[in-house]
Symmetry: C2
Subunit: 764 residues, 2 copies
Amino acid sequence: MSDADDLFPAFCIGQHETDRVLPITTQIVQRAHESNYDMLTYPVTTSHFHTRVLSVLSSHLATLDKPTLDASGTMGTTQNTKFPVIPPLSTADTHLSPNEAMSQLVGVTSSWIDLCSPDPLIADLSRQVLMMEVAYAAFCGLGYLLIPGPKLHHGGMHSDGVAYYARVIQDALATGPYIHFHIWLKMVDNVDLEVDQMGDLAPLARKEFLLDADNNEQSPKIDPFGTWDAWDVIRRTCKYHSRLVVALCLPKHLPQPSVQSRWHSEPVRLLTVDAGTFIKNQKGYPVLSKGHQSLISRLMRLRTPPWIILCDIGPIPGVEGSEDAEGDRGAATAEFPSLAQAVSSNKKHHDPTPHLSYMRNLQQKQPPRTAIERFGVGYQDYLQAPLQPLTVNLESITYEVFEKDPIKYEWYERAVAQALTDWAAQKKPTSNPDGRVVVAVVGAGRGPLVTRALRASAQTGVAIDIWVVEKNQNAFVLLQRHNQTIWEGKVNLVHSDMRSWRGPERKQAPNNEEGETTPTTHSTVDILISELLGSFADNELSPECLDGVTHLLHPTHGISIPASYTAHLSPISAPKLHADVMSQSVSNPAAPETPYVVMLHAIDFLSTNASTNTSTNPPSDPVPLIQTAWQFAHPNRDIPAPSHHSLSNSHNVRHTRLVFPCPDRGVCHGLAGYFETVLYKNVELSTNPVTMEAKSANMISWFPIYFPLKNPLNVPDNSEVIVTMFRQTDNRKVWYEWMVEVRCGKMRVGISDLHSSIKEGCLM
Amino acid sequence: MSDADDLFPAFCIGQHETDRVLPITTQIVQRAHESNYDMLTYPVTTSHFHTRVLSVLSSHLATLDKPTLDASGTMGTTQNTKFPVIPPLSTADTHLSPNEAMSQLVGVTSSWIDLCSPDPLIADLSRQVLMMEVAYAAFCGLGYLLIPGPKLHHGGMHSDGVAYYARVIQDALATGPYIHFHIWLKMVDNVDLEVDQMGDLAPLARKEFLLDADNNEQSPKIDPFGTWDAWDVIRRTCKYHSRLVVALCLPKHLPQPSVQSRWHSEPVRLLTVDAGTFIKNQKGYPVLSKGHQSLISRLMRLRTPPWIILCDIGPIPGVEGSEDAEGDRGAATAEFPSLAQAVSSNKKHHDPTPHLSYMRNLQQKQPPRTAIERFGVGYQDYLQAPLQPLTVNLESITYEVFEKDPIKYEWYERAVAQALTDWAAQKKPTSNPDGRVVVAVVGAGRGPLVTRALRASAQTGVAIDIWVVEKNQNAFVLLQRHNQTIWEGKVNLVHSDMRSWRGPERKQAPNNEEGETTPTTHSTVDILISELLGSFADNELSPECLDGVTHLLHPTHGISIPASYTAHLSPISAPKLHADVMSQSVSNPAAPETPYVVMLHAIDFLSTNASTNTSTNPPSDPVPLIQTAWQFAHPNRDIPAPSHHSLSNSHNVRHTRLVFPCPDRGVCHGLAGYFETVLYKNVELSTNPVTMEAKSANMISWFPIYFPLKNPLNVPDNSEVIVTMFRQTDNRKVWYEWMVEVRCGKMRVGISDLHSSIKEGCLM
């Protein structure tokens, strides 16, 4: 693996000034680059435009005979109304014009508007302002817009106006067809701050719409998921649009871990950090708290890491000639005391951008990628159809990828060694009359388990008679070659589907003189080794395949490795996967009923055992609740005898109904599936995130499975998600069916379709 | 209209015996017909089969080493399991065989099974029993099956097992592809009764699954919507299958009106009435209570009226030779005392089927169809695309249908008469210099409003100068004819789109000698009459059309008839409409985003002002809460002047956000839309079911409008449905957007897509 794979990608860092007044020239962009910034924000319009809109509003209010209050008193335009039209932008209204620096600029729309205003006049003017700004930004060729999120009303709550905000954003997406719209949101609503920001238009609003201000006194509790809730309405209204993303403002005090996790699952593409979010280290340099550092690290490992925008941390050096008030060299080196000491003892340098330097240093400090991260680069949250190994012959490269796993085959070797040791210690009879334990590797692929079985035999000193069965004729060529080159011809190779194999052949002495073919008999197998598991344990038909060879296993002593396996489930929020499934379903109607193999990354577990008790400090990360759906154990002695001309597979049907308590509200987009398997006794493999560290850390062979829902379900606070799942078979194929219900107390509040993957079923 | 239209259709009545033992021969069917029954039920299997299944179960339990209880203790088959297989049906297991009487038989599947059992063994045997019965019924060609509903568990509650029940029914629908499956349900769960029925298999169940029995002691309150809830899960799991319908058991004590309303909205195709549901009148004859009669009447007015099955009310006369224990002549005539007296004084007759006679009599007593019922025969719950009158020329028959309305034109005449009277009384100047009030009928069609305006003028003695504008050249031919034949040439006809009409022409004296065309000027209009409203008021672009002629109306005195109109909304449960929209969307992706004109019938209003106080006796019918979305008033003097080369239509944009409290749980499939209009002062038309009786009873011109939801939303008890709706325009067309949210307390529990009819928008 190359070193480049290990390198953590560079942070993309920009600079934002709330009151940027100068036009941004290509020279300024050049200066910013020289200071190590990657980009700059740019207000789309000027204060001149703000003033002009206020005067349009004032003069309209002056001409009104009487307020056009609804008869019903409800919000909205329900009667004949006429709003003033803001005249088109003129040259004083904007400094922006198309130039070569456009790709390094993020446009910022005006924050003095309020699309959610209960006053329809203010809401309509705000809509006009935003749409004018979007249209002009699109004309100039800006690729990125930062749009202040919906304003709070009703004493710090998101109001009904969010629906209207969302509808305007939908129009904006159509007006700027090449623009990525970043909705600028706080992690958690902060009432005090919001009240400060409000009201550039509000003071001019008519008093019948100013009910909000009066209600402010009750000072409500902050709703930790209130901002997320508003975002959910916006992106839902806009149908999970791919150009609608989040710009997240890092607050000084981070919210509880469950809120951080939620944002981690959303498309956060910008991260804004105010000067006030930095703290000072002992030397007075700006640094971020451990909590902030770890949140940034986590977000930076997303498939598309967010860009970072430093807000109001001082001017671009050389642009206005002013010095940074922060004083001496910044915090960049604050956490490397030895280096910092070296620098501070050499006070010749003055760092004009200490916040930026700190962020660049933070980038350097990112831990290198783990094995699974390196392995999964580019695969995070990428949907793959599961393998059909029974009907499709795998290619060599696919085997090679699997064989790279640093854990899986090691664990298999341990399991075989232990089984052989036990066999010998218990003095069990062997199926081969010569006393060797008969080991069969079925579905051997290119043979990694053969090598391990031979090693286990050598290591334990227990002799084996090894049989290797593979149906893929291409892989079989390699097996023959390996037998010559690696296995010293010790291996008995059988080119066959394991289900039609008749067992190890035992030649008899010729019994007549006419030279007839030597008759053969078949012995049983003592230890049957297979690696047929899929991401959801049984989804690649391990049960059906092993049932097909179980009759060859010794009826009392026979051992199957793996001995058993279980499928595990948990409901998740996965907005990116949902959007991808929806876009696939345009061309493939079966897309939302297909289970996908996917390296789950930007997801949030809805059901957790989190201690919502925030008194623990620091609050612990929520632990997902992942439950067992069902189990298969081998050898299965309960297989019905073949009858009625066909072997029934009904004994491999399973169903389950699992209840998942969900402490915090969210949206359920689907189910994450994992597996655990007991290879032999205490040798286990697990992809279940709760147990994988303990059972088989660093295993990379399997990504989880994802069962989507056609339509996301809202999950309220303190509710239950109930999953009903079936493993079905019609004796020709196997498929899954799944259905999700949401309950609050005893009341059903949501229910999904019964989804079925029968069209994408796994053929037997 | 023919008398046949007035006739109430015949009831279809059958007979059911719980313990029917004889095979049903064609002779028995013949006897039943002679007794006036239309059909009979028939058990698919015999008690022999029951006994055989019990012995399969007993011998399996005897062979079990130990109970196969899940490790997790949760319900379902989660581990390797093997269930006994019931051997195929033999001749003693069923009396049913294919014969000519099949079309008069309703098969009944066994009630001693329990598909919901928490014991997976019982659940699996029950599944096998049902599937064997369905397969045999399908083989015999039965068209109808009555399937006992899911059994109660957990102390009289529907259990998690309903999901499994539903899954088996889904298989049954595939196994019997020509069978209608009637799920036999109570209106409300009755705990006592259910406990009696349970347990044919249960006593054999293993004790670890008999937790239910122990929990029974807590004697829970009956959940009035519990049975409906179970039905909702079943039909939802089966994707609103058209062959999955309800057989409803009429209980002795009817549930609250809201529960009755709910069932009225579901596909109730069978109504079963037990002997015990009948009461005895003074003469001892079996009759039904007033409440039962009225519920039956209501259900019988559905598009597909249910069949009625009388259960255990005595044998078919002549089949077993036994007499009905009821004694004398039945209750058939009980409510016609004069007739009854005549009969009882002549006691020669003995009625062997008094319950049947009563039902036949009830049929005779059904009130004749109302005007709107006659008009709507065949249109109940039938989806129609709204008219596009601006871009499509209507056909004569369409006008004719509208002109048949007994109320609408009468009310227009009253409005015009009152407006003319007021004009004269207030001595307003007229636009015609000769003193006649200038009246214009715009969009006159075949001229019904012209006739009414002329009558109003004659009746009030206020002279009018009448102008008639119509764009449809075909209708214009008829207008010319009417002017000759009916209107005595009094009418000035203008063939034009009203939006391009330049107003009444006033000829000037020739002003030169060269014989140039006489120049004309145009006067204003005093009273502008139009009938441009659609089912949702503004949905056929009345606002846009009238805006286009408003400049012709006298600037101070001009009157528009109608003066204003409002659109009204309410969330509804409409399972049939949902199923129809879903089936249309297979071929037309825009189907679930199209507003439909539909005569709403099998629907239930989710938001009501019902007094849930059941102490009132009898409890009053729930009154739906129908709210005003928005209003248009004419003439609209606020229309912006044409500018930028096109007339902006943005003043006709509307939006609203309405909160609907919902006392009882349900499923929201869409929104019902209505309108009200003020023609002039207190002369109003309404299709709003709450106000139509008072404002314009018996008006038939408009069916309601239905805005579907792509995905139904669950509405819990005591929740709120919040509707956000937009009337949008891009200056070329008009469309609607709608979104529904469901809240419990402050918590969002469901949210729909933002639906948009832009693809089916109404062209301007």
